[in-house]
Amino acid sequence: MSKVMPLISANCGKIRPDSVEEYINVGGFEGLKKALKMEPTQIIDEIKNAKLLGRGGAAYPVGSKWQQLYNIEESPKYIVCNADEGEPGTFKDKLLLEKDPLRIIEGMIIAGYVFNSQDGYIYIRGEYEAIQKGFQSAIDNAVENGYLGNNILGTDYCYNLHIMTGAGAYVCGENSALLNSIEGKAGRPRVKPPHLAEVGLFGMPTLVNNVESFANISTIISIGAEKYLSYGTPESGGTKLVCLSGQVVNPGVYEVPFGVTLRDIIYDSELGGGIKDGKNLKFFHLGGQSGPCGSLSQLDTTYCYKALRANGLNVGSGAVVVMDESVCVIDYLKYVTEFFIHESCGKCTPCREGNKQLYAILDKFTKGEATSGDYILLKRISDVMAKASFCGLGQAAATAFNTCLKNFRSEFDAHLRGKCPAGVCFTKQERGE
């Protein structure tokens, strides 16, 4: 059986991305047409039954999110698509934005219809400048063909989509920071409560979902929840776009059904195809820089929300960064931490100060200056970051460190003794060469 299952990526590369005609020829807008004949609550139930979990990284049940917003009476409600794909090693939204924008638009129209929204916003990261143009063209063509704008498909329903963009801040991927950025404010996360479903964009109730989540909506409505669920595992419905990168033979985006194993993803010939240059796998970093690092012993874990979580791992954004034996984990962690030092918004103490201090100690390890007492400090810093940071950025920033320390403690210990097993750290002289 094939380990690849193109469901939401089926059109990618097969049609002209902004062509409504070609999109319709491959079954596009079927979900929308069906949805417009359904009650909003039926649509929400269908999504709930499909067990679609948010594909941005936090895996919040999409149906519940929609239900919560639906229960709020205040209007207008806004629909926002989070296309600020900033997680390193993650480029799956890019694929959809670039190759099948109308699928995302269709999902956003269905959401707009459910909440009777007049306006939807898609926040596309600043670095995806060319994609923004293509996406705008897709919006324009959808308007021209009656799928957006006034009286959609002859109904009373009117809905417009707007593209917004940031200046390139990772933290704007955090939904409340993203809304601040749309509003023209600095992209820093908001105090919660109130939650975005209550007080979101411009102070109004707001739905924020990831690109891939919206891309799944039309498929769920058009094939039905039951069929959709059958593609995955009982708890994790459907498929997942996985982004393979690092020292793997076939890097790229692959759509896999939940239920394959990590080994399949990294080694299957249809997927990663194994480690480059005949080297051995050392670890894999899941879900982006904010995710956990897994070791060889976890390779046979099933790729689904439940099994990964049970093994201290998670799906996250869908990134799978593969690192071979030539990599020093501490050196790698310094890169990860440098990223968070750069991207922390700076408002809360644990994230602003913690990342700095974490880096300083890791740096000591790679220079042979660390002592065993540094383990205590590392634990204190990573604990306070995980438990007391303001938003997901700080809470997750030390995840890679925590999992690496657990899986590669001996490598840390070796550095205390002035040895870098991968031969990356210290000068040649220090290494005794």
Partner: protein, 580 residues
């Protein structure tokens, strides 16, 4: 929000094993406080919206993976909260140490030594060493304006100053900028405060938990004058100082410290201790008559008060087109300076160039006001130095004076005589009440029996009333805080305003919570200081400005009449729009 919290709904929670019932919407911090549990805070301020940025107030909530910040998290029914577990203590200690690693730790040399929220927390958590790498930077100290000094090396990024500047005052001179370790509080494009919209109200100082924002210390200049035998140093004290100075010496907020303060000033060596209240009465005579003139002669209405220099800076910067509405009267501080270096100089037979006028003010904008080039009516800078309440307290402490043990003393004549109408200038609504007491009697020719005009009192941000002056209805409004001032100004601009007279104070609650007052001002303390001022007023025999015998004598001997030629020369000013 619209899903308004049902205040009737009660919630049962357990905090540290003690069960309690609180109204829905109560935060963990508030609920714990009711049980006598003081959760430590740093970025939280009782008058401001919680920012939840420092994370010091983190607590454990059973069933939650992460700690919750108690300042902004409402309790939920059945919550089991632990505020003092090992995990909580360790997290808090780490947070404090992380902050300290990025802090100069030069407490001994800090103006907030002994009065710093971070220092107190470090003490409570028994921080003996900071195990983390020192990351404090060497940022330049901003002291290029006469009022406010900003040392961002000491800033702990709590965001309170931003909240007060953005939300309470809506001046928005400062905001957060940059990210991560570079994250800081700054003006737009890091320009100087002088080039920013800042109006020097100093509310940012009053909410700063550490020594990052302070007034510009001018005590050395005053010591120098006091030490110089050739200079005659006179001092004036603003109304609101007397009900706050005691807080610096462990007295209750709102306790009346007038007599002890006067005694202390004399001990410090001031040649004459005068009262800004004297010129507050004088202001009423000038401003009251200006109002009547505007009403009867078709002048620009509504007329707005001009006592508050933060407010004047604000309207000059933000609404220059409305400047004709502002009374031409100088503030009482500046009237005092002009009178001291002319009338008093003549009377005392001292050349004005040998007179040094010091003001004790609850205000930081006053420091800027006295340096304005137009404030030289005497031919010299009318007021030489302005000290805040806090700076005076520092001088008293330096001089080794035991405030509590000092016996009350009286202000000197002639510029020390005042009425109850003057002392209430220190509270929002006070200038209005004082003006009405006088205007009523001038217009009606009748005696105002009940001088307690309660409709203009209290801390409410905007107050409106209509007063019947023998058939003429006078519509008035009072606003304190610049956000509320802005609301009124927008109404005037839109032509939706039929007031005759508007009192505006830059600081919320008026001068009693000015930027120069003792640290720790909260709404509760505002109430106490307010009460103190009205208590002084009601205890006095003379409660109407026009009954001030010394002011009347000033007119007889020197000024001739309100709005007269000499008054215009010395007591009135003009305004200009200012760019930022």
């Amino acid at each position: 929000m619209n899903d308004a919290v049902n205040i009737n709904k009660n919630i049962t929670v357990t905090i540290d094993g003690i069960q309690t019932i609180v109204p829905e919407g109560t935060t963990i911090l508030e609920a714990a406080k009711k049980l006598g549990i003081k959760i430590p805070t740093l970025c939280h301020h009782s008058d401001l919206k919680p920012g939840a940025t420092c994370r010091v107030c983190s607590v454990e909530v059973k069933g939650q993976r992460r700690l919750k910040t108690s300042c902004n998290t409402p309790v939920a029914d059945g919550d089991e909260i632990t505020t003092n577990s090992k995990a909580v203590r360790e997290a808090r200690k780490t947070i404090i140490e992380l902050i300290l690693a990025d802090h100069p730790q030069d407490c001994l040399k800090c103006v907030r030594n002994g009065n710093c929220e971070l220092q107190k927390l470090a003490y409570e958590y028994q921080i003996r060493e900071v195990p983390f790498e020192r990351t404090v930077k060497d940022l330049p100290i901003e002291d290029s304006n006469p009022s406010i000094v900003r040392d961002m090396n000491k800033c702990i990024k709590c965001g309170r100053c931003v909240e007060v500047c953005q939300e309470v005052q809506q001046v928005a001179a400062i905001n957060t900028s940059f990210r991560s370790g570079e994250f800081k509080i700054s003006t737009a494009f890091n320009e100087s405060l002088a080039d920013s919209p800042c109006v020097y109200c100093g509310q940012c100082i009053t909410v700063c938990p550490v020594g990052a924002i302070t007034e510009k210390d001018d005590t050395d200049r005053v010591w120098e004058a006091l030490d110089n035998p050739d200079i005659h140093v006179v001092v004036q004290t603003a109304p609101a100082v007397r009900v706050a100075i005691g807080e610096e010496f462990d007295m209750q907020a709102g306790s009346i410290g007038t007599g002890k303060m006067v005694a202390a000033l004399k001990r410090l060596g001031f040649d004459k201790v005068f009262d800004t209240n004297f010129t507050a009465d004088l202001t009423i005579l000038e401003e009251g008559n200006e109002l009547l003139q505007r009403i009867t002669e078709g002048g620009v209405l509504p007329m707005m008060t001009s006592c508050s220099p933060g407010w004047i800076n604000y309207i000059e910067k933000f609404y220059p087109e409305l400047l004709p509405h502002v009374s031409s009267c100088k503030s009482p501080q500046q009237m005092f300076g002009a009178v001291a270096k002319t009338y008093y100089a003549e009377k005392a037979g001292i050349s004005p160039d040998k007179i040094f006028v010091v003001s004790i003010m609850p205000c930081t904008a006053k420091k800027y006001e006295c340096t304005r080039p137009e404030m030289r009516s005497s031919g010299y800078q009318d007021v030489d130095v302005v000290l805040t309440t806090r700076e005076l307290a520092r001088m008293i402490k330096q001089a080794g004076l035991d405030m509590g043990a000092l016996h009350d003393e009286e202000y000197d004549d002639p510029l020390g005589t005042s009425t109850g109408a003057a002392v209430i200038f220190g509270a929002t609504g006070g200038v209005m009440e004082a003006a009405l007491r006088t205007v009523y009697e001038v217009v009606t020719g009748q005696k105002l029996e009940n001088v307690d005009l309660k409709m203009v009192r209290g801390l409410k941000g905007i107050k409106e009333a209509e007063v019947d002056l023998a058939g003429t209805k006078v519509k008035i409004a009072i606003a304190s805080s610049l956000k509320n001032a802005k609301e009124i100004l927008e109404k005037i601009k839109a032509g939706e305003c039929d007031y005759h007279f508007i009192e505006i104070m830059a600081c919320p609650g008026g001068c009693l919570s000015g930027g120069g007052q003792p640290f720790g001002t909260t709404n509760a303390i505002r109430e106490k200081r307010l009460e103190g001022l009205y208590n002084i007023d009601s205890s006095l025999k003379l409660r109407k400005s026009h009954e001030n015998p010394a002011v009347n004598k000033l007119y007889e001997e020197f000024l001739e009449k309100p709005l007269g030629h000499k008054s215009h020369e010395l007591l009135h000013t003009h305004y200009v729009g200012r760019k930022y």
